[in-house]
Structures are given as structure tokens and as C-alpha cells.
Amino acid sequence: MSLLEKELEKKVEQDYILEAKNIKKYFPIKGGVFKREVGQVKAVDDVSLSILRGETLGVVGESGSGKSTLGRVILRLLDPTEGQIFFENEEISKMSNRQLRPYRRDMQIVFQDPFASLNPKMNVQELIEEPLLVQTDMSKSARKEKAISLLEKVGLRPDSRLKYPHEFSGGQRQRISIARALALNPKFVICDEPVSALDVSIQAQVLNLMADLQDEFNLTYLFIAHDLSVVKHISDRVAVMYLGRIAEIAPKKNIYETPLHPYTEALLSAVPSTDITAKREKIILKGDLPSPSNPPSGCAFRTRCPKAHERCSLERPELINVSEGHFVACHLYDN
């Protein structure tokens, strides 16, 4: 109990830049002649999380676990079915698009696919200037100067600013995306698998760039990825998602050294190791991710869990606090 109290106390003094409470995003499945709603895809199903100013929260999960949807809901690019989102203690979950506009300066997103996230008909300068054009009243020459300085920041040559996205490589395009996201000096950036479409050698460069920029601009990241190795590099805390729910959320050290949830264990065992002498048991999960339109009863992971028992199919596990900052949603740990 004292732990929980401590946690609560901490919460009061801690400076959360973003808090999401009980976020649900259900997509309707329409069918039949009259497009009636015949079901729902529960992409995000009751997720709560909060992000401290200046930290990086990694979100990990396989494809279809709802991590990208969560990111888009937090930015209000998708409207949540239920739940509240607070950005710097202002509730943004119910605002109209017009009301949201000033908040868009402070929150940005970098997308996964560098070939789809830049308008192919705009040149680099136009792309980077666009946020300045719509959100500020900077003069044309000031915008141009800013664009040039941003290009330098992300390690691109300013004299290629009149080129078009198709003339750049994937890594360079991702740098353009980052420059565009940073143009308005945001406080919070969602990185939606920014490196998973890139070559491994380029991944490290872009990750290092993002880490440097975080220090320089005092950014807060929500870093979405589908494998733990990328997140390990950049995160302070890590949340593991499974089928629209958070399975485990903990400081990075706990996740990598003392994972509690069987799913986290399985994910960790899949990370390739450079240490060939290390003895590791590979946990291979049976089957596929169940359909989010028809999730298993109780714990969503029980169909693939090696440690599942009877209770798992009956009750949905809640996130419980097992040690400082370490929460896990598994019946193995609540007694």
C-alpha cells in the first residue's frame, strides 16, 4: 500500500506532459445492405498512460496490437471512442479541430513510411515551410531561413532544398520528416515506427539523430516500435502492448532485466543477441495474434500464453503495480 501511496504522491509533484485515461478506439465493421454495424474492431481497448516531460516512452507490440492507433488517437488524428486525453493538463479529447489547432504546434508526429509521409508534389522547402506557413505569421524570408537551419540540424544539405521527396533515399526522407515535425518547436513528438522502414545501418543514424535532437530541443517522445531492440536504445520507460491493451509498462531497466509478463518474456527472447556464449531459451509463441474484432475472453494473451491457467479465461487482468513504476497486467502477479 505504501508503494501505491508513494506513487500517488509522486504523481502530484511530477510534471506530466501528456496523460491518457482509459482510451478506447473501436472501429465499426459495417456489413449488409444498409451498412449496419455488425461488429467492432477493438484497436485500442482501455489504455491509460502518462508521459513525463522530457522522457521517452517506448511502445512495443506486434503488428495489429493497436500501438499506431494509440498514437494517432493521442494526437487526435483519430477520435477516441472513449477516454480522455490531457495535454499539459488541458483536456484535448473533446476539442473541435479548430480548438485543437494551437495545440498542434506542440504535438507532432513522424510516420513510419518515409515514402508515403511526404507529399510527392512539394519540394523540401515547401514541405518544411508548410507548418510555419499555417501556424505562424513568419515572413517568407524568415521561413526560408528557418527551413535551411532545420535542414542543417537534421544533417541534410541546404542546397538540396528545392528537390522533391522522390529524389532522396529513405533515410534522407525520414530526416525531412523529422525537420518538418520540428519546424514548430514542438514539445511532444510521437514517433510512429520511424526507423522500421529503414536499413539497419541507417536506423542507427536516424535514432542517434533523434536522441540528439531530443537533448537539444528538450523533446518528449512517444516512441512506437515493433521490436524491443530499437526501443531499448532510446527509451526511458517501455510499454508493451498486446491486442489493444497494455500488458506491461515499466522503466527500461525492469523490462529488459526482470520482465514479468509472459508476453514480454517472449518478445525479449526474440531479440537477437550479439553474445553467442549467452545461454538463452527461445520462447516461441504458438499461433497468431487473435482478431481484435473478437478478442479472447479474460486475458487477451491467454490463447498463446505458456503459463495460462483457468483464471485467465475468466477474468481480465488489470494493470497492477508490482514495484516502483512497474505495472503488469497478468494474473500470475495478483494474489
Binding site: S117, K121, N123, Q135, I148, R161, L162, K163, L182
Partner: protein, 304 residues
Amino acid sequence: MELNPQTNTGPGIDIKNAEKGMSPTKIAMKRFMKNKLAVASVFILLLIVVVVILAPFLTEHNPTKTNLTLIERPPSEDHLLGNDSSGRDNFARLIYGGRISLIVGFSAMVFTLVIGVVLGSISGYYGGKIDSIIMRACDLVLMLPFLVLCLTIVAILEEVNVTILVSIIALTSWPSLTRIIRGTFLTLREQEFILGAKAIGVSDLRIIFKHFIPNAIGPILVNATLMMATYIIAESALSFIGFGIPQPTPTWGNMLSEAQSLRILRNSPEAWIPPGLAILITVLCINFVGDGLRDAFDPKSNRR
């Protein structure tokens, strides 16, 4: 502001000179220029346009002036293509008639384009109820056979001029372009750069004009071009059966209606072959240009 341009832009950076890139549209135009058939068609069309614009300088005859002494005269030095059944000069009618035919085709295309872009954008961008309404309206108009609808409207209005004809054509054929633009928008809507623009706080209008339409320009341009060809044919068809622009105003279509008489069809080919050829060549060239544009904007589609 942490990002201070002054501190970051050193003296070594050349601000003025930057390598110019090739925009996708420029690349498409370059590809178009390599298509010999399409480029030749553009030149032929330009020639036709120049001829109809310069009509008063190419003939001194008035295309609407009847002359009873010259009825159905064969070609002569003064009247290169002879005279029609009211004694009007066929050559003058051919080049003046081109004006009307091209104006009808072009303005109907522009009109359809405006309707199509507006409704297609709204439908594809907002989706939901408004989309359903617009699409049902499309179905309704598509359901009606074009020619019968035109005949009915013309019959009700009794008198037809260019504006009315253009409106009729546009109001009966906007659905196909609207659907194409909506479809293009729907595929673009899922692209991440549209989400990215929303994340920046770009207004709906700017998203439509800066992000959707430039990326849909290929299909829009191609379909508008091909549509113009069908509109020229539609005008000709309506005029041929006497429901288009009424006499004495010349159009290629109502010049052809002369050939409804078997006597003229047999004895004076010079009266109906030139307008027929003019329609054929114009429509063919427009179609070649349209195909060329399609291949240029979507290079994957051209190797069948």
C-alpha cells in the same frame, strides 16, 4: 525560440543557390514530350485552334448568309467547298463551325471539371453522409440515358444556344468525373502525408488544394481531356439530329445534318466529308493526347 536561424546559418552556406529538383509533374511532362503521337496530336489541335480563331482572315464569306442563287453549287474558286442547301458557303461554315464545336466541347469540359472537382473533393474528403448523398445523386444522373435526357431538355426549352447546350452536357455528364475524383481522393486519404498535414493543423481547404488536388492532377487531366472528345461528339450528334445548336449558326454537327438528304450524300461529298473529317481528326487527336497524358502520369499503365 531555440532554433535561431542566425546562429545556424553560417557564412559558408549558399542560401541563394540551390539545386533545382524535378517535380513529378515535370517528369510526367518530359515523358509526355517523348510520346511522338501525342505531341503530333497537340500540334494538329493547335493548328485547328489557330485556323478557327483566324477564320475571318481565311475567308471573306459570311457563314450564315444565305444566297438563293448559289444553292447546292459544286466547289468553285470562290467557294472552295461549294454551297449548302441554303446557298451558304461550306468552307466558311467549316472553319466558323469549328469555333462553336470546340467552344462547346471545351466549355462543357471546364464546367464538368468544376462540378466534378467540387463535388468529388467534398465527397472523397469528408465521406460519411454527404458522400452518400452525392454518390446517390451521381447514380441518379448516370441512370438516365444521356441522349434521351438531352432530347427531353431541348424539347422543353424549345430554343437552344451555346450556353444552354454546354449546361445540358455538363449537367448530364458530371457524375463520371466526380466519381473518378472521389476515388482518387479516397486512395490519397489513407496516405500518411494527409495525416501529417492534419497533424500540423492545416485547414481542410488547404489540404484539398495543396495536398489532394496536386496529387490527383494526373487522373483529372487525363479524364478531362478524354471527356472533351466525347463532348465534341455529343454536340455533333445532337446537332446532327437537329437538337443541338440551331441553324443558321454553323457547327460541324449541323453541317453533317445536311447529309441526311440522300441526294447530298451521293452527289456532294464535298459538303459533308470535310466536317466529318474535322470531327474525326479533332476527336482522335484529343484522345491521343489523353492517352499520352495517361501514360505520362502513370507510366505503369502503358505497357499492356
